[in-house]
């Protein structure tokens, strides 16, 4: 009798433990599956994964506008840029269906297409108004060779020289033009630098290149950066010369050193020039307390500009592919493209839409040299963005070590190159 009771009790505890464990596991899932259910019931909710926060101004928030235009609820999942590629790879490899639309980077689209993580959109495109024949050349060549249209470019961005007009005025230096040479840039940077009595810098001539614009400098100095035929990183003498230049400028206080409290010293009025992505035109808008303008990145040995884009693509695991395409259709249409341009300052990758100039951000009233954008886009190629982010981040970390004098530029470039080979060949 007592034994029965005992076994009963053991069973009971086991059951309780099991139920509790089950509950907890379900606790997580219920929310997920109920979300799925509503999705199914309405069939009208699409989640889109991007790395940028949507614009706070609703008129400039293309997702909010897409929601209005299509009647499909559009939810945005923001995954920060530093982790974006990695997290998307994880989501694709595990067959995650929490996002219906991915905005995919250049280096990932081929892999995702091969792994079957995203679907070809050709069937949809047959009956759609998206002008796929009108993409800028670099974009259409990048997405060809995949055996289908797996992604549609959400914009065409590039990198520019941003400069503080007030500082140029007070130093009596003429504004940079789109035909500026790299030597012009260096001598201007030196002249624009202001130092205090004790030798520390009060105003830098130029900000340090960021993880993106390092590659513009290296490409300009004559390196190929990326070899599309082999998918490899190609850096050498050009990188050595550019890294040495930056190191010298940092040593002389013309540029700041890399430091732990990274800050946008151009925006805070502590640097006269800065090489940055064109999307900063939209970010700065009218918020900077000084007059500023843009110019093409100065030309060294060759005119080199990195193109940036992202591809709208549909998750193969998505349950709302039709709705997802309808949202993409809106975003790729003239209205969607124009809102994106107005908010970010990035022109559309569709030539006929870009020509109309919606990307000339209205709030950035001090910008006069809009020519710089078209000029840069013309010279634009897909470069480092086609390489795995681990490789390029590692290289930038090596370059930074050289700037800090912890190794010579030659060593840094050699090590970055060796690491890239080791990784890409894996």
């Amino acid at each position: 009798m007592r034994r029965k009771k005992l076994w009963g009790r053991i069973f009971l505890t086991a059951a309780i433990v099991g139920v509790l464990a089950g509950c907890s596991s379900k606790g997580g899932e219920t929310t997920g599956s109920s979300a799925e259910k509503t999705k199914k019931e309405e069939g009208q909710k699409v989640t889109i994964a991007v790395w940028n926060e949507p614009n706070k101004d609703e008129a400039l928030n293309m997702y909010a506008q897409a929601e209005k235009a299509t009647g499909i609820k559009v939810e945005v999942t923001v995954i920060p840029e530093s982790d974006y590629s990695s997290k998307l790879n994880q989501m694709v490899s595990t067959g995650d269906d929490s996002a219906d639309i991915y905005v995919i980077w250049e280096n990932d689209i081929a892999n995702f297409a091969k792994a079957g993580g995203i679907i070809p959109m050709d069937d949809y495109l047959k009956n759609s108004s998206i002008q796929t024949g009108d993409f800028i050349d670099a974009v259409s060549s990048l997405s060809s060779g995949l055996g289908g249209t797996y992604g549609l470019p959400w914009c065409a961005a590039t990198e520019l020289l941003f400069y503080n007009k007030d500082m140029f005025d007070s130093a009596g230096i003429p504004y940079p033009g789109n035909d500026w040479s790299y030597e012009d840039y260096k001598s201007a940077a030196e002249k624009l630098t202001k130092k205090k009595a004790d030798g520390t810098t009060e105003q830098y001539g130029s900000a340090l290149p960021n993880t993106q614009t390092w590659w513009a400098g290296i490409g300009g100095a004559g390196d190929k950066v990326y070899d599309p035929s082999k998918g490899e990183m190609v850096i050498g003498d050009g990188a050595v010369s550019f890294v040495s230049d930056v190191a010298t400028m940092a040593k002389n206080g013309i540029m700041p050193e890399p430091s732990s409290d990274t800050a946008d010293i151009f925006a805070s009025g502590k640097a006269a020039m800065s090489w940055q992505g064109s999307w900063n035109i939209g970010t700065y808008g009218s918020s900077l307390p000084f007059q500023w303008d843009i110019a093409t990145i100065p030309t060294d040995k060759v005119k080199y500009n990195t193109l940036h884009t992202g591809f709208y693509s549909i998750n193969a695991k998505s349950k709302n592919q039709d709705a997802a395409f309808r949202v993409i259709e809106y975003l790729m249409g003239e209205e969607g493209q124009n809102i994106n341009s107005k908010a970010s300052g990035n022109p559309s990758a569709i030539k006929s839409i870009a020509e109309k100039g919606a990307w000339k951000v209205e709030s950035a009233s001090s910008v006069k040299n809009w020519e710089a954008m078209t000029d840069s886009l013309k010279a634009g190629v897909f470069g480092y963005t086609c390489l795995p982010s681990g490789v390029t981040n590692n290289a930038v970390s090596e370059f930074n070590a050289a700037v800090l004098g912890q190794k010579t530029p030659e060593e840094a470039v050699k090590k970055a190159d060796a690491y890239a080979r080791e990784t890409i060949g894996y």
Binding site: S25, N52, P80, S98, D264, S268, G269, W279
Partner: protein
């Protein structure tokens, strides 16, 4: 005699000054964080003054009105509650026979438990990641909550130490009265060790409130972000520019994250401080 007294007095004052110095060093980050959360980004990156020139509430407004703050709190609380409940239940169950029963293999099991305590989580996280990916648990709290229901070695270890201090005669008496082992566990042991449960629960909550590593590996999307992850992602970047770290926003979010442990120390220091002490001493 007098000189010895003055010497002693001087020593006391010296120690007091030393105490103040150490106190300033240890507390300065907290002051820096909380004043920093009232600065604007430009001020934060250009001036090293401790106090903001003119305070702004923008950072807090951003957190409360423009981010999914409530969602992050919900996720963190779910994570804390799930893991703590799981580990309290399972770890105490496992600790019971190890502390109060004799059976073959007991020493082996106990050695294995102590042994697994030594393996840092980080060494096994990649295979666990693949495993959880296979069963579709990634991007949810499950990879962290479910293992909690299968006993954490360290907590088993702590429970065992506490259970051993309760006299065994109680068990024998209860068995005489016809109480089964399960009955003993639930009717005698648990009521007797309420404070133990509280302390281990508090320690577990503090751990999961602060935990970064596992969420970094397991969580991808915004939907399941915990506060610690949100600090590295949502609150980190200014919109539109991924290279400009929004320091004051991070400081504001950090200030908010420091508050609960601070309140816990002030009002529940019995559980926190005493719990930590015993957790180390019983080694």
């Amino acid at each position: 005699m007098k000189s010895a007294k003055t010497k002693k007095r001087a020593g006391r004052i010296l120690i007091f000054i030393l105490k103040i110095l150490v106190g300033i060093i240890m507390f300065s980050p907290i002051i820096w964080v909380s004043t920093g959360s009232f600065k604007t980004l430009t001020e934060f990156t250009t001036s090293s003054d401790l106090l903001p020139q003119k305070g702004t509430l923008e950072n807090f407004k951003y957190i409360f009105y423009h981010s999914n703050y409530l969602l992050y709190i919900r996720n963190t609380v779910l994570l804390m509650a799930g893991t703590t409940l799981g580990t309290l239940l399972s770890s105490s169950l496992v600790a019971y026979p190890l502390a109060r029963m004799e059976f073959p293999g007991k020493n082996l099991i106990f050695s294995l438990i102590v042994g697994t305590m030594m393996i840092p989580n980080i060494a096994l996280i990649v295979p666990q990641y693949i495993m959880f990916g296979k069963i579709g648990w990634l991007d949810s709290l499950l990879p962290m909550i479910v293992p909690a229901f299968f006993a954490y070695p360290y907590n088993v270890f702590l429970f065992r130490q506490f259970f051993r201090s309760i006299p065994r005669e109680l068990d024998e008496a209860a068995t005489m009265d016809g109480c089964s082992r399960i009955g003993i566990f639930f009717r005698i042991l648990i009521p007797l060790s309420k404070s133990t449960f509280t302390t281990i629960g508090v320690l577990s909550c503090v751990f999961w409130w602060n935990e970064l590593t596992q969420p970094v590996f397991y969580i991808n999307s915004d939907k399941w972000r915990t506060l610690t992850i949100a600090l590295m992602t949502t609150f980190m970047y200014t919109s539109g520019n991924a290279f400009v770290i929004n320091w004051p926003s991070i400081m504001a979010a950090s200030t908010l994250m420091i508050l609960p442990p601070m309140l816990l120390y002030l009002f529940g220091s019995r559980f926190l401080v005493e719990g930590i002490k015993t957790s180390g001493l019983k080694g």
